[in-house]
């Protein structure tokens, strides 16, 4: 038992500052990413599902909607990226809820780490996962004939916009993750909300092919706006308007969901 206990505690005496908090965040993000090694299902979610969506949509709906799979891919890949981004935000709530229900969160909070680090670490890790699946989606798309018309700058801008939007949207996921009693309910919520949300947008089907009463919603749906912004940045079409409206949506989501999410988390732990 010599290693178990020795005289002095290891951690420094000061309250963790920003630098220490960042270090904690990186360590906790490492933890979330290492988990994938032991949980192959997660890799499946992150890799196979997006690829499957690209293949199915392109070859099943492509000709019917756009005349050819190649033309449809140009339209739909940005939409698939948006849907994937929404689903990816759900991992934050799922992981958070797992930590809360299994007691990992308590263990972390009983350590002298920055109070915000456990959540920040999780969001950072989920951002990395998101980046992975976006890269995969674009990679597979390119193999199938998708072309990025605005070069690296367009790609980078699209990626940054997705990141900002996802960070804002992940507060919905945090709120749900804190409120529900078990991780599976986060997934159920995700399916119940994200499928209708993304299917009633122009992510997969152009707005003018939908019934007129639905078109009003489709036009203001954040999934439509974000998909249009990505189309503008990656392929063609207007950029400034959709990007600005996407950022407004991100701001609205942040303002509406972040405060109650933080309050709920404080109450629960």
């Amino acid at each position: 038992m010599t290693a178990a206990t020795l005289a002095a505690p290891l951690a420094p005496a000061r309250r963790p500052g920003l630098v220490a908090g960042m270090r904690h965040t990186f360590t906790l993000a490492w933890r979330s990413l290492v988990q994938i090694k032991h949980n192959p299902m997660e890799l499946l979610d992150l890799s196979i599902q997006p690829v499957m969506f690209v293949l199915l949509f392109t070859y099943v709906f492509g000709t019917a909607i756009a005349g050819s799979p190649g033309d449809y891919l140009k339209f739909a890949l940005p939409g698939i990226i948006v849907q994937n981004a929404f689903f990816a935000t759900m991992t934050t709530g799922f992981g958070l809820n797992t930590d809360l229900t299994k007691g990992v969160f308590d263990r972390l909070r009983a350590l002298p780490v920055a109070r915000w680090a456990p959540l920040a670490g999780r969001i950072l890790a989920d951002t990395v996962k998101q980046a992975w699946s976006v890269a995969l989606l674009i990679g597979v798309g390119m193999i199938l004939g998708f072309r990025v018309n605005h070069g690296f700058a367009g790609l980078l801008a699209a990626f940054l916009l997705l990141l900002v939007f996802s960070l804002a949207a992940s507060w919905i996921s945090v709120l749900v993750g804190v409120l529900v009693s078990e991780p599976d309910k986060v997934q159920i919520f995700g399916f119940m909300v994200i499928f209708p949300l993304t299917f009633t947008s122009n992510a997969f089907v152009p707005t003018d092919k939908m019934p007129s009463w639905l078109q009003h919603w489709v036009e203001i749906n954040p999934a439509t706006i974000l998909a249009d912004a990505l189309r503008g940045l990656l392929v063609s079409g207007p950029v400034a308007g959709p990007v600005a409206r996407s950022l407004i949506w991100a701001g609205v989501l942040l303002a509406v969901f972040a405060p109650p999410a933080v309050r709920a988390l404080r109450r629960r732990v």
Partner: protein, 324 residues
């Protein structure tokens, strides 16, 4: 005497439920202190307050001399927490779990690795070090939990029901580890619903029920409070149970308890035993077991609270788990 943990008048409510209704505790440095009580008694809430995870509505507490609210960060540097609700990450290996905590505590990569290796060896987990914790047996999980709470070399260790759900062998192993830790000078606050566990490990026990400490003392003192001894009779033929109950009631003047086929009754007068033998013989009851023994903490609990410590309350009544 210095106290590693002091609490005065801790009150904590969850909505209409009062989980802690004014708890005072004083745990001398270097001892094991047992918080004994059934599910929902407030044990876990007390630990969460002392471990800085939950704010008390009233009262205050210090750990290692630091206030758990004002100096929460200092307290977190002194404590280790292991329990049902403070657990390791199942999707990480043993090594990764300990590395994570070492790195969060500010150890360098190589120091964290060395510390992880040493702790895994101490807890006989070296062979399982590179396996995900979800593949561990219950006993291995608890050992890893305990190892994780020791990465920071805590002076005060909170063990929240550390052996719930463990088989007797794993439980004994864990008890030995706790004894070793105390020999090294660590102060341990142990919560348990196993009366035997408190008896085995703790130098001092506080019995908790409905958020209050209803009795406190050494295991011996608490046992003495029930008047000392218990007479246990198990008839060979279970159909004789009513006769045994009637005889026991008559001889001792107290209504006995029946658990399965054993009748137990607290006794103060040692002459009761020969009287009991004579009466059972006269009634022609064959007995498989007839013994006079010291009161167990279970009986202490019964005499203090008027009800038994429920070992398995249904999940819905476990108020400590629902802090909302």
């Amino acid at each position: 005497m210095t106290y590693a943990i002091r609490a005065e008048g801790l009150v904590r409510r969850f909505g209409a439920t009062t989980a802690l209704a004014g708890v005072d505790l004083a745990v001398p440095t270097g001892t094991v202190f047992g918080l004994l009580g059934p599910n929902g008694a407030g044990k876990t809430t007390a630990v969460r307050v002392l471990a800085t995870l939950l704010a008390a509505d009233e009262g205050h507490a210090t750990v290692g001399g630091y206030d758990v609210r004002r100096d929460a960060h200092r307290v977190r540097q002194l404590i280790g927490l292991t329990g049902q609700y403070a657990s390791v990450d199942e999707n990480l290996t043993g090594t990764e779990n300990l590395l994570l905590i070492g790195r969060l505590l500010g150890l360098s990569r190589s120091d964290a690795r060395a510390r992880a290796r040493a702790l895994l060896a101490d807890f006989q987990l070296t062979d399982a070090a590179e396996r995900a914790a979800k593949t561990y047996s219950g006993g291995m999980r608890r050992r890893l939990d305990l190892a994780a709470s020791l990465v920071g070399r805590p002076q005060v260790l909170f063990l929240d029901e550390p052996t719930t759900g463990l088989d007797p062998r794993s439980r004994n192993e864990l008890w030995d580890i706790v004894r070793d830790l105390v020999a090294d000078g660590v102060t341990v606050l142990l919560t348990t619903q196993y009366l035997e566990e408190a008896d085995q490990l703790a130098g001092e026990i506080a019995v908790v029920d409905h958020g209050r400490v209803i009795a406190q003392g050494t295991p011996e003192e608490l046992k003495a409070r029930t008047g000392g001894q218990v007479l246990a009779v198990r008839p060979t033929d279970p159909t004789d149970l009513p006769t045994v109950v009637a005889v026991a009631t008559e001889v001792t003047g107290t209504a006995p308890e029946v658990a399965q086929t054993t009748v137990t009754v607290p006794v103060n007068d040692p002459d009761v035993l020969p009287a009991m033998v004579r009466r059972l013989d006269a009634a022609e009851v064959a007995v498989a077991e007839l013994a006079l023994r010291g009161a167990s903490l279970d009986e202490v609990f019964l005499s203090l609270t008027g009800h038994r410590a429920e070992q398995d309350a249904p999940a819905g009544t476990d108020l400590e788990r629902i802090p909302a």
